[in-house]
């Protein structure tokens, strides 16, 4: 199998779907001529041009708000919000409109759209270009949230997201864009809502998604050297949440450590912990641990930013408190 980058995998998914369905269009800031600020949509623009890859002004509410109207009228928009930090600007359009029109209009109208957006710290972009705001999105019924960690998952899940008849927020961690792995060619779909065990283990389950999967795999490797066998469960999709996969893994290992880059308080890890406490309590051999970002904005200075970001050492340290 050929090896491509996460960024190429995203572009490939977009291109394949746009060839298949002429109702799909892309809109966003500099997604066209400029090729996308991270370079993701450049190849897509090259193939489909300005009629299907539309540059917009810096107008987040119009990007998502017009996508809602276009989707209600039958198109399948795939729009880009450059950084998730800008997503709250279009809070009404995403949270009040896209998420709700199917329900509040009694099922008459659907809103098949994808919002792609970049999350995460690690490039010195500071407080307004580095957040992981997935918990805000996950709190709103009507939205689906996907956060793939590998190029193959990014391709398969983006295709699934585009084919889904609901609004889907697709989170791409900016540190993953250059990462490479084997990705199946052609039509490749991963069902939304299915977690994936990225490393099998017997003693503890590391529950994670997006860029933290790599950190968890590194932690698991380090822990193996110390006689602790860690299972790495990549959620891939946050909403709908694969609760059965979480419970099955925790039932096997008896220990749960939840890892995310987002701030601890109100983070999605709390929801995962609640699921385990509620339905998997009997299998627990120790407390559920959360390893998450501190409750601070993301700082600029490299010395502080690296302290903000969860890493394999912090994960391994949390795991060891359970033994």
């Amino acid at each position: 199998m050929r090896t491509i980058s996460y960024m190429q995998a995203v572009a490939e998914a977009l291109i394949l779907e746009m060839r298949r369905d002429s109702d799909i269009y892309i809109a966003g800031e500099d997604v066209g001529k400029f090729g996308g600020s991270f370079g993701v949509t450049g190849p897509v623009y090259k193939e489909f041009g300005a009629s299907r890859v539309l540059d917009t002004p810096i107008s987040e509410t119009a990007i998502i708000g017009t996508a809602v109207g276009a989707a209600a009228a039958g198109l399948r928009p795939v729009v880009e919000i450059l950084f998730i930090d800008f997503l709250p600007i279009a809070g009404d359009e995403l949270f009040n409109q896209a998420a709700k029109i199917h329900y509040m209009f009694g099922g008459q109208v659907s809103c098949p759209m994808v919002v792609r957006t970049a999350i995460g710290a690690g490039i010195g972009a500071a407080a307004h270009h580095s957040q992981s705001l997935e918990a805000l999105v996950c709190h709103i019924p009507g939205l689906k949230t996907i956060a793939p960690s590998t190029p193959a998952d990014a391709k398969g899940l983006l295709i699934a997201a585009i084919r889904d008849d609901n609004p889907v927020v697709f989170l791409e961690h900016k540190l993953l864009y250059a990462s490479k792995s084997e990705v199946p060619e052609g039509d490749y779909v991963i069902p939304i809502g299915v977690a994936d065990i990225k490393r099998e283990g017997a003693d503890v389950t590391l529950i994670c998604y997006s860029a933290m999967v790599r950190q968890c795999l590194a932690a698991a490797e380090a822990l193996a050297g110390e006689g602790i066998s860690a299972e790495v469960l990549d959620l891939r999709t946050l909403i709908p949440l694969d609760k059965e996969a979480i419970l099955a893994s925790v039932a096997k290992t008896g220990r749960a450590v939840i890892v995310h880059e987002a701030c601890l308080t109100g983070g999605f890890g709390g929801e995962i912990a609640a699921v385990i406490a509620d339905r998997g309590f009997a299998s627990l051999k120790g407390p559920i641990k959360r390893v998450a970002g501190p409750d601070t904005p993301v700082p600029f200075s490299p010395a502080l930013e690296s302290e903000f970001i969860v890493n394999a050492d912090k994960i391994a340290a949390a795991v060891k408190t359970l033994f």
Binding site: Y25, S51, L54, T56, P57, S59, E60, T61, A62, G65, T66, A67, V68, G69, A70, A71, A72, A73, G74, L75, D92, E93, N96, Q97, I101, H102, Y103, M104, F105, G106, G107, Q108, V109, S110, P112, P141, G142, K144, D164, D165, N166, G193, I239, P240
Partner: protein, 327 residues
């Protein structure tokens, strides 16, 4: 007053009937709300009927409309079924949204009505998006977004109109200026006298029209819709009007000058149009009275239909959160 000459009697009476039906719908809703049993908020468009009637008269069956919290008149004028509308206002199963939307969230896809909306100005972006869909497909549909003066102070108004301008979208923005954003008078929320002037900032026409003159509204709407359909891009139409009641039922609107209110009531669009029709010889008062009587009877029956429709089953609570269920 716009001119009646170029329209036939059927068209003129259709405009009149449309306004009278809206007024009757609103009055029925008003009474029922005060009596109790109709939940939530109720934002009536009494006094603003000429805008809905005038605009809808020139739209094609395939065109889209999107509206606001004050949207009963738009849906009725678009051909909405008052039975299903009242059922929705009562939160009943036969309502347009099965009772899940209520007055502020009625949608009717069978009439290209992409929803009323509880967020001020949300229709501006959604209507722009529907217009994009039409341009993208080349299907020649036009989208009309209805919203109030208060919406024009939101950033979303700017973003949507600017995008519609640069993408040359087939959209008509109908700004129903009733002088108040809830209780906030226009003079307090903008320095502009005519909000249509805002269109100049986007490089497309802004037109002021007497929103209580159904023929004048029809005329400017026809021009704007033709322009949009022909690829000429958006138009902003400011229809100056007055709501007969407060922002919602329960708001006594004491913030309005009683003299100004009284003056506007004298400019009620329905009797004004009746006078034009009768004086111009297009019809007789008796014929107009018959229209009135028929509308009252229709709404009597419709509100009863709504009131007697069953409440949704409790299992409906969790349905239609997602297409295909789940999550």
């Amino acid at each position: 007053m716009g001119t009646a000459e170029q329209l036939g009697k059927t068209e003129l009476l259709d405009l009149y009937r449309c306004m009278v039906r809206i007024r009757s719908f609103e009055e029925h809703a008003h009474k029922a709300f005060l009596k109790g049993g109709m939940p939530g908020f109720l934002h009536l468009c009494s006094g603003e009927e000429a805008i809905a009637a005038g605009v809808m008269a020139i739209l094609g069956d395939d065109d889209y409309i999107v509206t606001s919290h004050r949207g009963h008149g738009h849906l009725l004028a678009r051909g909405g079924d008052p039975n299903r509308m009242f059922a929705e206002l009562y939160g009943r199963v036969d309502g347009y949204c099965g009772g899940k939307g209520g007055s502020m969230h009625i949608a009717d896809m069978s009439h290209g009505m992409l929803g009323a909306n509880g967020i001020v100005g949300a229709a501006v972006n959604i209507g722009t998006g529907a217009a994009f869909a039409s341009k993208y497909r080349g299907d020649k549909r036009v989208s009309v977004a209805f919203f109030g003066d208060g919406s024009t102070n939101r950033g979303t108004f700017h973003e949507a109109l600017n995008l519609a301008a640069i993408w040359e979208l087939p959209v008509v923005y109908i700004l129903e200026n009733n002088g108040y954003g809830v209780a906030n008078p226009q003079s307090d929320h903008t320095k502009l006298k005519d909000l249509a002037d805002r269109a100049a900032a986007y490089g497309f026409p802004g037109v002021v029209v007497d929103g209580n003159d159904v023929l004048a509204v029809r005329e400017v709407a026809a021009e704007a819709v033709d322009r949009a359909r022909g690829g000429g891009g958006p138009t902003l139409i400011e229809a100056k009007t007055w709501r007969h009641w407060g922002h919602f039922i329960g708001d006594s609107a004491k913030y309005r000058d009683p003299a100004e209110h009284a003056a506007w009531l004298k400019r009620d669009p329905i009797p004004a149009f009746a006078a034009v029709l009768v004086k111009g010889g297009a019809t007789t008062q008796a014929e107009l009275d018959d229209i009135q009587t028929a509308a009252e009877a229709e709404m009597d029956a419709a509100i009863e239909y709504g009131r007697q429709s069953p409440f949704p089953d409790k299992s409906e609570l969790t349905k239609d959160v997602y297409v295909g269920g789940g999550a």
